[in-house]
Point group: C2
DNA sequence: GATCTCACTTGCAAATCACAAGTGACTAGG
DNA sequence: CCTAGTCACTTGTGATTTGCAAGTGAGATC
């Protein structure tokens, strides 16, 4: 517990440039991650901690594969620039990949890698928590994944 | 699976004003939540989906109780306005509460409610995932919770 | 080979965030 | 009690991120 708590207050933990140089612009671009602490939960949130990233993973758990425009069709209405950015991030992290890595972007869907599939238990727990504790505020909510 | 996918594309799912009128300004203020879809995972992310909220929960899992300034001491260095905002949100959701609800704000710590304690499995899964899949990018990472 | 669709990119306004500097209530010391 | 200090915030300002609308360019379709 609290294994990070002995750190000095003024020090930064590091920055890491993710990149996979496979081919298209989207895949070869680079993203810097500023790790806020050594805590694994904080690291997870450094990467996945926003309103959109895990919804992409959720869609891929539900549907196995999904194209860019299919993601756009999901009910939460992600905007195109955010979608492109998050797909780039998840690809560079090795959480998702193209179904046809060598092929052109058009109709080239995304799928989860083993790393992405390992997020399923966490998403199930989050969904379970919402079902139990958010339904009082939002009765129309339904299950997922 | 994909139980939300039959929704129309143009419809909004709703908005809900959270409020608990217990006493201090911080507790009685109101926050609007715009539910993006009926999906429970999306609902969870509507509420907890950012880089800071779950770190507050993590601290309370690690330490049982924490004051405002103790939260500020955590290594991720949350800023004061964001901390106040998230404490307000988590309080209005019933995820955390003050250890002395009737007392003054000064030295009045926060603790998890049963709802907050139910987030532990999800945080454990997220931490486990980070340990398994993020360590390659960030070797200094350590366990947590 | 012109048109269409798909997977993005770009530009700009709006919202959110980080950082620094207050503020006001309690509290300990003299 | 009066003053100085600490704690729990709030406020202001500039920087970053997001949302929305409008492109763009490459491959598929006709």
């Amino acid at each position: 517990m609290a294994a990070y708590s002995d750190r000095g207050l003024d020090q930064r933990d590091g920055r890491f440039d993710l990149a996979v140089g496979v081919g298209t612009d989207l895949e070869s671009e680079t993203q810097a991650i500023d790790w806020r602490s050594k805590c694994s939960i904080a690291a997870c949130l450094d990467v996945l901690g926003d309103k959109w990233t895990l919804l992409i993973v959720r869609d891929l758990i539900s549907y196995e594969t999904r194209t860019y425009s299919e993601f756009l069709g999901s009910p939460e209405r992600i905007s195109t620039n955010i979608l492109a950015d998050r797909l780039r991030l998840l690809t560079s992290l090795g959480v998702i990949e193209r179904t046809n890595p060598a092929g052109a972007a058009r109709n080239n869907a995304y799928r989860l890698t083993p790393s992405g599939r390992d997020l399923r238990p966490a998403l199930e727990e989050l969904g379970r928590w919402a079902q139990k504790h958010l339904k009082q505020y939002y009765p129309e909510m339904v299950e997922s994944v």
